[in-house]
Structures are given as C-alpha cells and as structure tokens.
Amino acid sequence: MDWKVKIKVMLKKSILDPQGQAVEDGLEALGYNNVSEVKVGKHLELSIEDVATEEELEEQVEEMCERLLANPVIEDYTFQVEEMEG
C-alpha cells in the first residue's frame, strides 16, 4: 500500500522560540494586538510506498523522525498518515 504522510516538527513547549517571538512582535507592529503564543515550526510532506499496515507505517515514520527529521533534544513531532488512492 502507498501512503501520504504529513509531519509537523515544533520546538518543545519548554524551549523558548525566538522566531515565534519575532513573528509575534511583527504581527503586533501591524496592529494585531490580540495574538499570542506564536510558534514557528517545520512541515514536511512525503510519500511512502509498499507498507502493508498503518501500524508498520507509523513505526517507520517515528523512526525517521527520531533519527533525522526532528532533534528529540529540542523538538517534538506529530504526523498524519493517509492511504493514497490507487
């Protein structure tokens, strides 16, 4: 089975995000005074071929996140999987 995967990588909540802070300041400068808690992260999309079950797929995606796509020291990740229509 073939799959589409969307991965979101964000700095851990406990870690200050200077980019998010800068974007928040920018929004405030534009007059949006009701915005807070801006976080900047990464969004990755990819296709994965020939994985039989969703369970197996999740295992592979988690492994890829742990090994390369996220740095577990400072980042958390979440992902969504979707079966590709044949």
Binding site: I15, P18, Q19, N71, V73
Partner: protein
C-alpha cells in the same frame, strides 16, 4: 603526529584549519573527504571545520551527521581518538550524539560575526592544557545557530563532570543566548571537544585584531599528543 581535516560539501573553514595544522603547527595533515568511509586510525587528531555542510538544511549538522565519513569518525572517537569540532563541526558532533545537547537559532535571530571573550573553565583537557582555568581567550565567532541548549538535568551533569571547557565571559559577552553562557564542551572521556568560536581564525598574528589566542587550543593538542607519544615510548 598527523592531523586530518574532514571536509563536507559546504564546509568553508576546512582550508583555514588545514593551514593552521600544516603550516602553523607544522604537522603532516590530510584533507579527509566526506564520501569515504575509511579507517582513520592513522590520525592523531581530527578537525571538523566550520561552514554550512549540506546547506544546513533541516537543522545544522543534521545531514552531515549521516555522511559516510561520520560512521568512521564515530568509531574513531569511541576508540579514544581526539576530535575537535569548530562551529558547524560542533553542530555536527551534537547531531551525531558524540556530545550532548542541541543547537538553536541565536536568540537575536541574527548571524553574529564578532570577537568574543571566553573564559577557560576546564584547563585539564587535551584542548586547553596550555591554558589555566580562569584565563581569558579572545576568539571570533561567526554563526547564526550557536544557541547551545541542554535541559537542566543535562546541564547539571556537564557541570558535575567538568565538561564545560569554555564559557562566554558574561551574559553581555554571550553572542547567541546559549545556556549557562556555554561556548564549548567536551565529552566525559575528554577526547571530543566542540566549540562555536573559531580558534583557527586567530592562530597567527598576521591575521590581525591582536589576538593569537586560538593558537593555545591547537598548541594544547600538540602538547597533549607529544606527551602521550612519550609515555607510549614513541
């Protein structure tokens, strides 16, 4: 005594490091290419230079860490070989897990290129034995992501094991917002050292600004290796 300078696509301080090892220290030095997994045991010290390996895509050092040579570097380090990672080299050592912690974007969000004052925190390492703890070294930095991070537990461990080798002198002097003003750390075994400042840029007086403090780092390596050689009867 032989040095190896590991070159990745996007390294841009490799020739500076080569120059210091080969010309200033006057030691045999090879450039070591990233694509070749190889036996590195002929080297007494490996230098991972600064730059923007693989364009710093994804995270600094994240892709370089999986280049074939890094497998050899990890084996070399685990066998006790000396490794110094400068700037991007430090970032690669973190991603490779040879040193603890991770690098974030500078708090200022700006690329910083400036001289910084560092305090030698631990003079009992192969990289600082020519200094005394408390000495102040002036060494330049040039980076956008030097904001060293480690959690509280990890920091306590670094302090307890005396793994913090150099700190920016003060919070005002800290160019990136790193935890505890950390500029450079070593592993528990003391054979792997990573730092954001560039000692290779101030190892000769001709390079200006009056500081040759970077030379102390490289001369420490030579002194350490010479002593080790004598003990081994070489």
């Amino acid at each position: 005594m032989k040095f190896g300078v590991v070159t990745f696509p996007g390294s841009n301080c490799d020739q500076d490091c080569y120059h210091v090892a080969a010309e200033v220290l006057n030691k045999p030095t090879d450039m070591v290419w990233h694509k070749d997994k190889q036996d590195l045991s002929e080297y007494d010290c490996l230098i991972l230079p600064g730059g923007f390996s693989y364009g710093d895509y994804l995270r600094t050092g994240a892709i370089a860490r999986f280049s074939p040579i890094m497998e050899s570097v990890i084996e070399y380090a685990e066998a006790g070989g000396l490794v110094i990672g400068i700037c991007n080299g430090f970032q690669i050592l973190l991603e490779a897990g040879l040193l603890p912690g991770a690098m974030k974007v500078n708090d200022s969000l700006k690329f910083v290129c400036d001289y910084t004052k560092l305090e030698v925190v631990n003079d009992d390492t192969p990289f600082t034995n020519r200094c005394n703890s408390g000495d102040i070294l002036e060494i330049p930095v040039a980076h956008g992501e030097g904001n060293y991070h480690i959690d509280e537990e990890g920091l306590a461990e670094l302090i307890a094991n005396q793994q913090i080798v150099v700190r920016y002198l003060s919070e005002e002097e800290n160019p990136n917002g790193s935890v505890d003003n950390i500029a450079g750390i070593c592993n528990q075994e003391r054979n792997v050292f990573g730092l954001m400042p560039h000692p290779e840029r101030c190892s000769e007086s001709i390079l200006g600004n009056g500081s040759t403090d970077g030379y102390q780092i490289f001369a420490s390596i030579v002194e350490y290796l010479s002593k080790r050689g004598e003990e081994c009867g070489e």
